[in-house]
Symmetry: C2
Subunit: 505 residues, 2 copies
């Protein structure tokens, strides 16, 4: 029996949702409540959708089917067109997920079939969560390899001229750590190919793509990206249109709300993209600190070895740098505030944050070592030369112009509040996670000017009432969320100034 | 900032869903996409809801918040009233779920806090799935005990007069296995207290509650249940209004679509309800067969021991019967067809299914042994006496009248098709899972007359073209689903008649 399509103007994100009237002519929708999964066909294509039931027949009539935005788009239909429906069969690969849940090890083919079904939107969010949790329990190194290759295989693959294609990646978690936007122009100025794609923030207050977008267009297509890289040796774009790892895009959407950030998932996510991107040399920034993603040296070593293991299998040269992740890097936290830090470093401004400059030079130096012409250990010096001479700034401006310079001025959020020390003391620690959360509550990354301006660093002496950081926000609701939350827990721990540093710990 | 409430006539089942306009005045809803979780307050109460975004402002205006049915109901608000919103904090107990995922063992307090948050609708479906999958990986016996007690604790608790309160439970999976509706009247006729609550079908074609509803009202309140039990010694009602294990109701809603039926979850689910129901003696029917939930004797023994371990901790006398689960029991599969079988057995009709009668007598006999006055081994004889004498039928009629006899006649679905053998042979096996699935496709349990009438049993000789079973359906779509599916795989395996039985296997 045919049902007429009604477009429901609801964005249900990843998940396809179909809506049937409670007195639907084609079947009794309550019969599907336990499964909640429906197959919708339109001759050419079919999708699997979760089912909601509608009691208001002006919204969905008995001979209609409502399709929310993603379902409507993925089925590629017209409103008023017709479809048929049937109870959805579970994707066969769910059997492998169940096997994994009860402790079995999956082979290459089984993992490929799971990833294939996930990319085809045949898994519900619950089913994706089940797969991720089962993998989080344990994943053999073989399973990790299969997963990474399977994820790389379902994406687009890029190829580049020349034997050396470099990349740089940070595992994240440190607010303000926007080194990529300094490393890329340095490396491009040297002449190495660095076709950098970045993500937008998901749970952080700014991704590199969000920050770069303050300065230039970032939503480039594959062809546009290629032409920028040909002209400038490098680019700084959002990976969203390049579709390097569609599986990862979906998995991350479930991992993040569950806060499921396992070593193995992280490696599979990053390395699948690097393989698809055609990288030959990769430098990974792995910050370690008490509130960073990686908490201690042992954990860092295990993660480094996992990267090395997978990179070797992929024939990618990898260089993992364990860096100091004890506190935010630079001053700004949030797209515009971070972009200001980046441009200050590139312009060699006197007030530019020294920590951001130094870390970027270290990383750029390691990336430059991929060039056979650089003498061993000479990467750092070359990076510094390119930055100090203004070559890196010129390179950045070339990239900005090639991608499309953003019009207008970027201004920090006009609503501001200083969060102050409640006693005299020495800054003993700064909670990176809390700082990111507060910047996010202030409205970042969507309010590009929202975020935090850090005014004190670990080891600084402060007096009671002295500002620790400034909250910037554009809207009242977000401003209040952030100020209230900072009033509860401001993320700074102070040690008594009367004690010696050693004794304060 | 206050938002006006708009009721969205969508039933999103378990999950609270809130809808904000894409240009919402209170905050930018895209900011919440990664989390998708919102806290909605109305002064008195607050709920956590998942967020959808609406692009049509006639559906949800910028100063409104749309609440789908469950969210609207649980917040207990009026349309047009106002609420405030804030980004939802993750329930703290999710930390314990994450710990469990990575292999830690949880203590009593941690498990209690998880169950408490789940019952408070503070977990998304994804988060519930994460908890269930983590538990499916491994659960220590201590964790199982804590889980079972925690689930029992959040429900209503019933107490009964007298030292013996009996119950009977089947773990499910065998179509037509409607023994409860015969055991309860026998036991009640004897004079033991058997306050039986049953579930409706979730993935099966009929639950005991669905089948009993063909004959009588089943959605009784706690007080109504108590008065029926006082009058009749027993009852046969739906557990939905009695709220014995609200946690289980929610967990099952996620377990079933994931097909996550672990031993431990099954034991926690069943035993938490029995504890809350005040049972002192419990007989469990544990069918074993190649297409049953339990496949072999080893598995059955492990499950039996798990039941015994938890029952001992709860001070409930448990008697686990391992029964033959090789094929459906009785003839009918589906509410009305099964109710007809049950009444035929109780009325001692000549054509009543002998297997259903015999199994019910066995189970009733074991339940009756809880009566100290019954001589050891005498339960079966007493059960048979009560059935043959018509006392059980009279008891059933008392229960039906006390609960409220259903008006009108119950008629099997008028659309019928016989599914026939495609060759001569001997029925070697019947796939219980497939039979249940076909009955469900035919429309059971919601079409009460839909389902299957089984015409052949394992060991029967059949000729090509001879009917194996008859499909009954009330609506054309469902009828076609079932007939088409039975045409593909009919669930019967035939052995060649020319071979000896031994050789055919």
């Amino acid at each position: 029996m045919m049902l007429r399509i009604r477009r429901i103007p609801l964005d249900t994100l990843r998940e396809n949702v179909a809506v049937l009237a409670s007195n639907c002519v084609a079947l009794r929708p309550e019969a599907f409540q336990a499964f909640k999964r429906l197959e919708v066909h339109n001759g050419a294509r079919s999708i699997i959708a979760s089912l909601d039931i509608c009691h208001d027949h002006s919204m969905v009539a008995p001979d209609e089917i409502g399709l929310t935005e993603p379902a409507f788009r993925r089925l590629g239909v017209q409103e008023g067109g017709t479809v048929t429906i049937a109870p959805a069969r579970s994707p066969q690969s769910l059997e492998h997920v169940r096997a994994k849940i009860v402790g079995e090890t999956l082979d290459k083919h089984q993992i490929e079939s799971i990833i294939h079904d996930i990319v085809g939107y045949r898994y519900s969010d619950m089913e994706i969560a089940a797969f991720l949790v089962a993998c989080a329990g344990f994943l053999t190194t073989d399973e990790l390899l299969h997963l990474t290759f399977a994820m790389a295989d379902v994406g687009n693959h890029m190829t580049w001229n020349g034997p050396v294609v470099v990349d740089k990646h940070c595992i994240g978690g440190i607010p303000g750590n926007r080194t990529t936007m300094i490393v890329v122009p340095i490396v491009a100025a040297h002449g190495l190919t660095i076709p950098k794609t970045s993500s937008r923030a998901i749970t952080s207050p700014a991704g590199t793509a969000d920050t770069m977008e303050v300065l230039a267009r970032v939503d480039l297509s594959m062809d546009e990206m290629r032409s920028v890289v040909e002209e400038c040796n490098g680019c700084l774009i959002w990976g969203g249109h390049v579709n390097l790892s569609p599986a990862d895009d979906i998995l991350i959407g479930v991992e993040r709300p569950l806060n499921l950030d396992t070593r193995e998932q992280m490696v599979a996510s990053i390395m699948s993209k690097k393989k698809a991107a055609g990288s030959t040399h990769l430098v990974i920034d792995l910050p370690v600190g008490p509130s960073a993603k990686v908490r201690d040296a042992t954990e860092a070593m295990r993660l480094r070895k996992l990267f090395e293991f997978v990179a070797d299998a992929m024939k990618i040269h990898v260089d993992v740098l364990v860096t100091d992740g004890a506190q935010p890097i630079g001053r700004g936290v949030g797209p515009i505030l971070e972009a200001q830090d980046v441009m200050a470093v590139l312009a060699n401004d006197q007030g530019a944050p020294a920590d951001l400059r130094e870390k970027s030079l270290q990383l750029a130096g390691r990336v430059l070592e991929a060039d056979p012409a650089i003498r061993g250990g000479g990467g750092y010096g070359r990076a510094r030369q390119l930055l100090d001479s203004g070559a890196a700034l010129a390179s950045m401006n070339r990239i900005i112009d090639a991608q499309g310079r953003a019009p207008g001025a970027a201004v920090a959020g006009p609503l501001t509040a200083d969060i102050c020390a409640d006693a005299d003391g020495i800054v003993a620690s700064i909670d990176c996670f809390r700082i990111a959360q507060l910047a996010r509550l202030a409205g970042a990354p969507l309010d590009r000017g929202a975020g935090l301006m850090m005014l004190k660093r670990v080891g600084d002496r402060v007096e009671a009432g002295e500002p620790l950081y400034r909250i910037h926000s554009a809207g009242e609701s977000h401003f209040n969320f952030a100020v209230d939350a900072a009033g509860e827990v401001n993320g700074f721990a102070l040690a008594s100034p009367s004690l010696q540093r050693g004794a304060a710990q």
